[in-house]
């Protein structure tokens, strides 16, 4: 394959890294940061036998999924997964919400249902026999009720609990029926899970697998799009995560939820922490500059290493890729430490060159184009706020709605240093010519 094509395909912004990929760069350890994986793993394992809920947030595309997959491996006791060890070993179930739930129309009961489904699935896979438990009987009953629903008559509901979830996803009618059914059956499900399944499963896991406890990671819940659902401005996020906290905390096992960044940084933050009795851990963006605006060399080097790894994977060298190493540094710096943005920049540059290596001229064009893309959704109001964020490195306090929007849409990145959190605009915004900013409407 043409090297250009190989490179293009390596830098795919749409594909998250698998946990065991050699391409994984553990930048937090390299930069001596508080390692989010360690904090997550510790926050679960140090709690001992008490079932805890944990919350993780972070910008879209900074690698939450990848980090979670690493955490899963650490807690499963995989020695290669992290440089620190955990005393307890966990059976970890990972629910990828987007695959199972229609995030457009989701409520706490659905989430719980799918946590149970995922857990049952994974335990089944591990060899824990369900047919013999009362859960098998319960599901049979449950299925009978569902099958008797008029609107579901035409749907073939599988007898296999695992496949059952897929049907739910594909048939919208089934979803609402299920939800109303669940409302009535939730307590029964909790009791079954908490008192029967989890107890038996724990015993079994201890004996057969040497696992101390169970953790369910629910990824991609942060992708639930925010919507205002009442006159008073209540959002679905608040409705699901805050009002539904009781339901989401009802299972007697450890659960780690990903929460939307705009909720985690909203005025509901403190209530959210209280409702789950936990800190909200945030995966920061890789710092490539310091608070004072100067370059942060270690961070840049980390980004460079990410590119190097993938370049090698494509069978190329950095020298073949860039006419000057300085160009790569510039791209890394303009990405603001956001890995997916870096990939988009690289892809765009590859499209805009006829042959390798990438030249300063190609990069200039690329940056202009990407800066323009980014600025599409920036109106005069947002510009004013962004200028202020860039100047003060602080959140916009007077207009919370505006601020959450800036975080959500990646116009502002959050970083951490020894002094705590600080913020800056997406560096591409600095590349937008003054003339291209929309004029303020009078």
């Amino acid at each position: 394959m043409d090297k250009r094509a190989a490179l293009y395909q390596q830098f795919d912004p749409a594909r998250p890294l698998e946990a065991d990929s050699d391409l994984y760069v553990d930048w937090q350890r390299e930069l001596n940061r508080d390692d989010i994986k360690q904090r997550l793993a510790n926050s679960v394992s140090l709690a001992g036998d008490i079932a805890v809920s944990r919350l993780l947030t972070g910008h879209r595309g900074v690698g939450k999924t990848t980090e979670l997959k690493r955490v899963k491996r650490i807690l499963e006791g995989d020695p290669g997964a992290g440089a620190f060890s955990i005393e307890r070993k966990y059976f970890v179930s990972l629910l990828e919400a987007e695959q199972w739930l229609d995030l457009q129309d989701v409520g706490p009961p659905d989430i719980i249902f799918h946590i149970v489904r995922q857990l049952v699935d994974d335990l089944n896979e591990a060899g824990f026999g369900f047919a013999a438990t009362s859960f098998g009987q319960f599901f049979k009953e449950f299925r009978d009720i569902l099958t008797s629903q008029v609107e579901l008559k035409s749907i073939d509901i599988p007898t296999d609990f695992a496949k059952f979830g897929l049907v739910l996803k594909q048939v919208p009618v089934a979803r609402s029926t299920l939800r109303s059914l669940l409302q009535g059956h939730l307590p029964k499900i909790y009791d079954l899970i908490n008192d029967v399944i989890l107890k038996k499963a724990r015993q079994w896991l201890k004996q057969k697998k040497g696992c101390d406890d169970i953790l369910v990671i629910v990824d991609e819940l942060d992708h639930i799009p925010q919507k205002v659902i009442t006159e008073q401005g209540l959002t679905n996020h608040v409705n699901i995560f805050l009002d539904g906290a009781g339901t989401l905390r009802s299972l007697n096992c450890n659960v780690l939820y990903t929460v939307p960044i705009e909720l985690a940084y909203s005025s509901s933050r403190e209530r959210l922490k209280a409702a789950y009795a936990t800190e909200i851990l945030a995966l920061p963006v890789i710092p490539v500059t310091r608070r004072d605006g100067s370059a942060f060399e270690d961070g840049l080097q980390t980004m460079v290493r990410i590119v190097e790894g993938r370049t090698a994977e494509a069978g190329a060298t950095i020298e073949e890729f860039f006419s000057d190493r300085e160009l790569l540094r510039r791209l890394c710096s303009l990405s603001g430490g956001h890995v997916r943005m870096l990939f988009i920049l690289i892809r765009s540059a590859l499209e805009r060159c006829d042959q390798l290596p990438l030249t300063p001229e190609v990069l200039d064009r690329t940056v202009r184009r990407q800066a323009n893309d980014i600025s599409l959704a920036v109106d005069a109001n947002r510009w004013q706020a962004l200028d202020e964020v860039h100047r003060a490195k602080q959140p916009v306090e007077e207009d919370p709605e505006l601020w959450y929007g800036l975080l959500k849409d990646l116009f502002v990145y959050g970083y951490e240093d020894d002094l705590g959190s600080w913020y800056d605009w997406n560096p591409l915004l600095g590349e937008v010519p003054e003339a291209n900013r929309p004029s303020r409407k009078t």
Binding site: R340, R352, R369
Partner: protein
């Protein structure tokens, strides 16, 4: 050489972008998401042709997304391509699936969430071709999907493209498209404009057309200022091009903007200016339209004669050129004039005349509007049954043609009719029914109005908490849409709630808040009403001097704006002050003065109220015969106009007379008669008052147990609706009862409570009386 001529069709910039897009198609090994920004369909066709020429071996399919299809983007793709192995897919018209009137389009949500599946299901490049605004919306509405993009490609149109696109847009008139399409169109125009401006030698023709179309687009989206600015820009260009029709149209449009902003003089000036141009170029339709518009200005200024004159003048022109719609509109406008002049018979006649024309030409909207207007006539004539009938008749038409606004308005009118008939439950039901429609179509004003009306109903039913809630809910909407009048009204109504609950400080505060808004927007009526309300607060707090001052202040404003009803009401209020101060002669004088005004303007309710007030004077003067006479006189009027509340009040007053005359049986009878009416219309305050009066009868008859029962029954109602004054009055009555029955502890407790409430709402005299009652020897 051949390739060179072909390439010459594309600018350098477009070629660069095209190369990048071709590179993407070649480099992508699997699913890759691209967005190509192009504002002109013609240009897109040329670009795609060029791509196919450059990449002859590639299997690239195209699909135009169908916004009307029930299924979203993904199912449409699946249906079109099945499991074909392709090298790429070009998707068009994603922009038609946006709903720019809301910030959330379902189609986008689906994209956001299906991207995993999207990537797996279509393992090849997918390129969306979009106009710029759609790209912006996409980046906003589907951030997750947008985040997966590999490339974006910008193609800029040349002048020829702009002219082509403009012609396409001009084909269907903007008034006929949905709001959603209007937004989209405006966005496209704005970008066409930007491209035109960027050209070295902008084509004035295209520029003028773009400005004019942008003006129209903004006008129909209620962006009147922006519309005006665009028409102003188009005008000199049309003049330069010596396009007389374009010039006249631009001028008339400026008139429309002025009219919509209530700048009537300027509007008339513009229409007068356009008119001779239309005549000169022989554009009869333009001429008739300009004249019709001059009529609209006159109607808005309440210069009814001139309005009628203009419509009469436009009518034969429409007839001559055979424009049936214009004809029907002119006739209907003549009906509107008549309705405004309260010449109801003629108004109805005109509407009846326009109706068959609308039917004949199949203009269902015009038909529905004419029927609704007939309903308005009936409503003004207090023929509520017929009014309701008409609205019920218009309703299914609006529904059939999918005019949600008309539908909501008709339902709201049905609510208004019910409210006027004091059928509050039904009224509320109707408003509740209209509300979600206004919400769905994004008509914030209609929404706020419906909520406000729900508040009004609740207020009439003395469900004060709910009323306050509603006003509180309507207020921010009015504020958001910048409807200052609505805002002031909501605040004023909120003040009314507080006044009803005897929370005088709050009430005054709100009226004080509404007043400057009315003044700023120049709403003299609102101003006068707010002042009068401040007078009402003062009156209720027994600050009689101030009350009189306020009423005296409002009165000349009512007179100045010719609001006879307001004038009569203010005079009556001055009578109320006099009555409260026991200046009975003056009170009677005032009521006698208001009465003929009510009669002249045909306000039967005001008439009945004034008569009842005269009864109150007589009652206060212990002229019981005359009092009863007055009440008996008011009662049938209330009944005739169907004002159940007034009816109940008059009956209760007759009960008061009987009580004073110690005709206890009759008094009880009257109260018992009023009670179910209050209950029926849901007036909790009236209900509580009637019950308390029954208690007073029982007390007078020394039937202490029943009296206690009645007071115990009334008190929680006052508390529930938050009527502090009523609560204090009930407690006072309970104190009296306890005094009669020598229950010292209960007496002291009740009177103390009453005293402190009177004190807290600023009624010093009552507080003193309550205290003295406790101290006075039996």
């Amino acid at each position: 050489m051949e390739t060179k001529t072909q390439q010459a069709a594309l600018s350098i910039e477009n070629q660069v972008e095209l190369t990048a897009l071709c590179n993407m198609l070649e480099l992508a090994g699997g699913f890759t998401l691209g967005f190509a920004r192009v504002n002109h369909p013609k240009l897109r066709a040329r670009l795609v042709e060029e791509i196919r020429r450059r990449l002859p071996g590639k299997a690239i399919n195209e699909l135009t997304l169908d916004p009307r299809s029930e299924s979203g983007v993904v199912p449409q793709l699946e249906e079109a391509f099945g499991h074909q192995k392709l090298d790429g897919v070009f998707l068009y018209s994603l922009d038609t699936m946006f709903d720019l009137t809301t910030r959330q389009s379902p189609a986008m949500d689906v994209l956001n969430l299906n991207r995993n599946y999207f990537g797996k299901r279509f393992p090849f490049p997918v390129v969306f071709w979009l106009p710029e605004f759609a790209m912006r919306e996409l980046s906003h509405q589907a951030p997750d999907f947008w985040a997966w993009r590999s490339g974006t490609y910008y193609f800029v149109g040349a002048e020829g493209d702009a002219a082509e696109t403009l012609r396409g847009l001009d084909e269907d008139p903007i008034s006929s498209v949905t709001l959603r399409e209007k937004r989209g169109r405006r966005e496209i125009l704005e970008h066409v404009l930007a491209e035109l401006r960027a050209a070295a030698q902008p084509d004035s023709r295209s520029l003028a057309d773009t400005y004019y179309l942008l003006g129209q687009a903004n006008y129909y989206e209620d962006e009147k200022n922006a519309a005006g600015a665009y028409f102003e820009k188009a005008l000199p260009l049309f003049r330069e091009l010596e396009d007389r029709r374009g010039e006249a149209n631009a001028i008339r449009s400026l008139g429309d903007v002025a009219l919509s902003q209530a700048r009537y003089e300027q509007a008339a000036e513009r229409y007068e200016q356009a008119l001779p141009i239309y005549r000169q170029i022989g554009d009869r339709l333009g001429e008739a339209n300009a004249i019709q518009s001059l009529g609209d200005v006159a109607l808005s200024q309440a210069r009814y004669e001139q309005a009628a004159e203009s419509y009469e003048q436009a009518l034969p022109i429409y007839r001559q050129i055979g424009d049936r719609l214009g004809e029907a509109n002119a006739i209907k406008s003549l009906g509107d004039v008549a309705l405004s002049q309260a010449r109801y018979e003629q108004a109805a006649e005109r509407y009846e005349q326009a109706l068959p024309i609308y039917r004949q030409i199949g203009d269902r909207l015009g038909e529905a509007n004419a029927i609704r207007s007939l309903g308005d006539v009936a409503r003004m004539q207090a023929r509520y049954e017929q009014a309701a009938e008409r609205y019920e008749q218009a309703l299914p038409i609006y529904r059939r043609i999918g005019d949600r606004l008309g539908e909501a308005n008709a339902i709201k009118s049905l609510g208004d009719v019910a409210r006027m008939q004091d059928r509050y439950e039904q009224a509320a039901e109707r408003y509740e029914q209209a509300l979600p429609i206004y919400r769905r179509i994004g008509d914030r004003l209609g929404e706020a109005n419906a909520i406000q009306s729900l508040g009004d109903v609740a207020l009439r039913q003395a469900r004060y908490e709910q009323a306050a809630e509603r006003y509180e809910q309507a207020l921010p909407i009015y504020r958001r849409i910048g409807d200052r009048l609505g805002e002031a009204n909501a605040i004023q109504s909120w003040g009314d709630v507080a006044l009803s609950q005897a929370r005088y400080e709050q009430a005054a505060e709100r009226y004080e808040q509404a007043l400057p808004i009315y003044r700023r927007i120049g709403d003299r009526l609102g101003e006068a009403n707010a002042i009068r309300s401040l007078g009402d607060v003062a009156l209720r707090q027994a600050r009689y001097e101030q009350a009189a001052e306020r009423y005296e202040q409002a009165l000349p404003i009512y007179r100045q704006i010719g609001d006879r009803l307001g004038e009569a009401n203010a005079i009556r209020s001055l009578g109320d002050v006099a009555l409260s101060q026991a200046r009975y002669e003056q009170a009677a004088e005032r009521y006698e003065q208001a009465l003929p005004i009510y009669r002249r303007i045909g306000d039967r309710l005001g008439e009945a109220n004034a008569i009842r007030s005269l009864g109150d004077v007589a009652l206060s003067q212990a002229r019981y015969e005359q009092a009863a006479e007055r009440y008996e006189q008011a009662l049938p009027i209330y009944r005739r106009i169907g004002d159940r509340l007034g009816e109940a009040n008059a009956i209760r007053s007759l009960g008061d007379v009987a009580l004073r005359q110690a005709r206890y049986e009759q008094a009880a009878e009257r109260y018992e008669q009023a009670l179910p009416i209050y209950r029926q219309i849901g007036d909790r305050l009236g209900e509580a008052n009637a019950i308390r009066s029954l208690g007073d009868v029982a007390l007078s008859q020394a039937r202490y147990e029943q009296a206690a029962e009645r007071y115990e029954q009334a008190l929680p109602i006052y508390r529930q609706i938050g009527d502090r004054l009523g609560e204090a009055n009930a407690l006072l009555s309970m104190g009296r009862l306890a005094r009669e029955t020598d229950d010292e502890t209960r007496m002291t407790a009740s009177l103390r409570q009453a005293e402190s409430i009177y004190e807290s709402i600023g009624l010093k005299d009552q507080a003193r009386r309550a205290r003295e009652l406790g101290l006075a020897p039996r």
